[in-house]
């Protein structure tokens, strides 16, 4: 099975894992070189799999588009200098044709697990023990099933729409969510991590909402002919954030005195990549026959 892994800098962990980097230690992450890798040694389900990689940094990735014919290519606004950078990172290619592979997976896509954390910060669903501590003056909002259905449906619909999948795209890749920020982000006061700081105080509730969000997003995406795969829950805390051990070397640092710095709590190492690849291959094989075309 020929698998194309394409996307942004989060492809780096997959590439490191496939190439065997960091076995027994942390990898370096980042955007890897292009081309078909023959690795995957020790990764569950990797036997018989050939994996190719195509990745560009997020700022450039945001200006790439998956065209209706299945070619992941730069938009017209991308400069020749940027294209050259893409080629340098990907073995001379600045675009990739998904049709050349049996399976394609778009890695590092935003799936907003923060939605679960934001809910957990303010209220509780029925059937979950009361959140730890209290909200406004001693009470936390109750979120009924009807409200949660409507709110999660709407939010999931917005996330899927934000993926910008061309309605004419006949052969759609799997969408693999970016890693949840590592738990080290809690020490930062940057506003980006505010939902997780809040959710850290409500771990049981956050876990419940995160499970709901994963399922909802998968269902909403599936209804639109998009096969979404969230990162496996086992790599993180029950309430969301990825375990610190999976952070790429040098990531997760919060400098004393600059606790509001954003830092890098997002890029993961080869150990994470191995788990991600194994998780993806299981999902891909199980869902290969799932419709991946517009309903």
């Amino acid at each position: 099975m020929r698998v194309l892994v394409f996307g942004n800098s989060h492809v780096g962990a997959w590439r490191d894992a496939w190439d065997g980097a960091g076995q027994g230690g942390a990898g370096q992450g980042g955007v890897g070189q292009g081309g078909v890798g023959q690795g995957g040694v020790g990764i569950d389900g990797a036997e018989g799999v050939e994996m190719a990689f195509f990745a560009v940094p997020e700022k450039l990735h945001a200006r790439y588009r998956l065209r209706g014919k299945g070619i992941f290519a730069p938009r017209h606004v991308v400069t020749e200098e940027e294209r050259a950078r893409a080629r340098a990172l990907n073995g001379g290619r600045d675009q990739v044709d998904l049709a050349s592979y049996d399976v394609a997976v778009h890695v590092g896509v935003a799936w907003f697990p923060e939605r679960a954390a934001e809910l957990a910060a303010l209220g509780d669903p029925f059937g979950v023990e009361f959140g730890v501590g209290f909200g406004f003056g001693g009470g936390r909002a109750a979120y009924g099933a009807g409200f949660l259905d409507a709110a999660l449906d709407e939010a999931a619909g917005a996330v899927v729409a934000g993926w910008g999948i061309d309605p004419n795209l006949k052969r759609r890749p799997f969408i693999y969510g970016r890693p949840v920020y590592a738990e080290t982000c809690i020490a930062s006061q940057h506003r980006l991590y505010a939902p997780w700081r809040a959710a850290a105080g409500q771990p049981v509730v956050a876990a419940a909402f995160l499970a709901m969000w994963r399922a909802r997003l998968e269902r909403v995406a599936s209804a639109q002919g998009v096969r979404f795969v969230a990162p496996p829950a086992g790599l993180g805390r029950d309430w969301g954030p990825t375990r610190a051990e999976y952070l790429v070397q040098g990531g997760g640092v919060v400098v004393a005195g600059a606790a509001d710095a954003r830092g890098d709590h997002s890029h993961m190492n080869a150990a994470y990549g191995r788990a991600a690849i194994g998780h993806f291959l299981r999902q891909a094989r199980a869902r290969m026959d799932e419709p991946a075309v517009p309903a």
Binding site: G123, F126, G135, F136, G139, A142, F147, A151
Partner: protein, 357 residues
């Protein structure tokens, strides 16, 4: 000319200068606040659907309007409001009568238990005291009761933290549980439950009953929050329907007159209460009816903006100048009326099946 008590009054005291000749509502001195409302204050809002405008105006003006049952920002206003969030300081839905308000306060602080607290909605269940907040109902009566306990805790927190409680009186008509006197916000059978003439009774509150109920409410609230002050107003929105037997327009005038008179009594005898003339502004002859929409019931955006400009001007709040429409998250001004959630308006849907009379 001989001396007269009408000499040397302020311009606002004379119809010619106070109404015919006024440049704008906002600068006409219709409201002289008894106490300030400043951005540092915390305000709780409740009442009929018109109160939703008041809360929004205060929030836009930078006042700390309490939201004790918040939902995350990613939730749209439509979804939030369809489920009773972002309407008032707590998720109690519309409170149309003073009696219902007082009952809610006694439930929150004094252990009052409403009769028939859970209504069926088909195969599902709703809170009889706020059936609008779960429009499709929930699966079990247990969840209704769980949500209610959580709501009451949040409501206590909101009202105990408030410096000012803003309440819009909406109606005098209500349906009660006959045996216990429990007040319902909407008639059984409108949004769940089933009307049973043997168990449910109609009641049209008088001025004395309305005054007594609001004083009852103030007493309970002040026991928990002694410094709490009250800003009351009367909704200018006519009744959607009446069960009184009178013509709906006659019933509306009766109802609004009762509420307006009740407010006057309440304000006259309590320095901690002030009255805000929403009703007078919208129904003013000088508006020549333009503050009402085509159906002669809904208040137009211009009307709402005018009322709120008076409010902001009187308290010196931001945006206190000319009337401006108040945009809301995710809704343009033309959608603002649809943005209200008014259970009472649902009564209008029974009009198609009405008998000639």
């Amino acid at each position: 000319m001989s001396r007269s008590p009408y000499q040397k009054l302020e311009r606002r005291a004379y119809w010619r200068t106070g109404v015919e000749g006024r440049a704008s509502f906002a600068e006409s001195g219709m409201l002289r606040p008894r106490f300030p409302i400043v951005p540092e204050m915390r305000v709780a809002t409740a009442g009929s659907c018109f109160a939703q405008h008041v809360g929004r105006a205060l929030r836009v003006a930078g006042v700390g309007v309490i939201d004790a049952e918040p939902v995350p920002d990613f939730v749209s206003d439509k979804v939030a409001k369809d489920h009773g969030y972002r309407l008032f300081s707590a998720r109690h839905g519309n409170i149309y009568t003073a009696a219902h308000l007082a009952q809610l306060a006694r439930e929150a602080w004094e252990g009052f238990r409403p009769a028939d607290p859970v209504w069926r909605l088909g195969a599902r269940f709703v809170d009889a005291q706020r059936p609008s907040v779960e429009p499709s109902g929930v699966e079990t009566a247990e969840e209704v009761l769980w949500q209610r306990q959580r709501h009451l805790a949040c409501l206590r927190a909101a009202w105990e933290a408030a410096d000012v409680f803003v309440f819009t009186f909406g109606l005098t008509e209500a349906f009660l549980h006959g045996e216990s006197g429990t007040v319902y916000p909407v008639a059984p059978g409108v949004m769940g439950g089933e009307y049973d003439p043997a168990r449910h009774v109609f009641h049209n509150y008088t001025v004395a009953e309305t005054v007594a109920a609001f004083r009852d409410f103030m007493g309970v609230a002040r026991a928990a929050n002694p410094a709490l002050r009250f800003l009351v107003t009367v909704s200018p929105v006519p009744l959607a329907a009446t069960a009184s037997g009178a013509h709906v327009e006659v019933a509306t005038m009766r109802s609004k007159a009762v509420l307006r008179a009740a407010c006057d009594e309440i304000v006259a005898e309590d320095e901690g209460v002030d009255y805000f003339p929403s009703y007078e502004i919208i129904t003013s002859a000088s508006a020549r009816g333009r503050f009402y929409a085509e159906n002669l019931r809904d208040v137009t955006e211009e009307g709402v903006a005018t009322v709120m400009s008076v409010l902001r001007a009187a308290y010196g709040l931001a945006g206190g100048g000319p009337a401006v429409a108040l945009p809301e998250r995710g809704a343009d001004t033309e959608e603002a009326e649809d943005d209200l959630r008014c259970e009472e308006a649902l009564l209008g849907r029974f009009a198609d099946a009405a008998e000639a009379g």
